[in-house]
């Protein structure tokens, strides 16, 4: 009888388990998931204006990619801070 009681207590204690609250790290905006395109190549030409156009387009492309990287950093820092605030 004593053994049975002891066994019951042990079995019940063994069932004591905690269920964690499920959490999910947020998804990043779709706009930030796009890869930066390759820089444009200049067609064979002798005109400086055409070359300049491609060069400035590439500069513009760089600016967009820079923004994307900065935004990723900002997004991650912000979301991590929010995620870590729950303890």
């Amino acid at each position: 009888m004593k053994k049975l009681l002891l066994l019951t207590v042990i079995l019940l204690a063994g069932c004591a388990t905690s269920v964690p609250v499920e959490r999910k790290f947020p998804d990043a905006p779709q706009e930030l998931m796009e890869k930066c395109p390759e820089l444009k190549q200049t067609e064979q030409t002798s005109k400086l204006s055409e070359v300049l156009k491609v060069v400035t387009e590439n500069y513009s492309q760089y600016q967009e990619c820079k923004l994307e990287v900065y935004t990723w950093i900002e997004w991650y820092s912000t979301q991590k801070q929010i995620f870590d605030s729950v303890k």
Binding site: V9, L12, C15, A16, T17, S18, V19, V21, R23, P26, A28, P29, E31, L32, E38, L39, K40, Q41, T42, Q44, T45, S46, K47, L48, S49, V51, L52, K53, V55, T56, E57, N58, S60, Q63, E64, L67, E68, T71, E74, W75, T78, Q79, I82, F83, S85, V86
Partner: protein, 147 residues
Amino acid sequence: MWMLSFVPDSWLHFAVIAVLAAGVALYGVSFVLAFLPPFRLYREPARIIGTLLALVGIYFYGSYSTEMEWRSKVEEQQAKVAKAEAESKDANTKIKTVYVDRVKVVKEKQVVIEKQIVEVAAKMDAKCEVIPEALDILNDAAAGVKK
């Protein structure tokens, strides 16, 4: 214990108190039985069962308190998570809006630059001729390093 999470609080509380009360009552009755000769035979079993029920009741009361504390913590945690998720969603929207606006500014600036190039194209093309080797170097630099 995890199965207890499916049982409503009030049912659990009632069951625990019922077992505890039944144990105490049976233990009390076992003393009364001593004064009733026909039932004196049941005195010991009643005392043993009453004691066991009371012990089980106390054990369950402890478990019940732990369960309630756990549920309270889970609710608190869930509220925090819900708040954090709402904040996260807001932050996502703000960051996305700022990003889209900045990209728009970059694109608008490029349009202005292209207009400026068109305006002075004839002048610069007349004064400068780009040799093919210069283009090769430029394209090579733009190609970067391929994986």
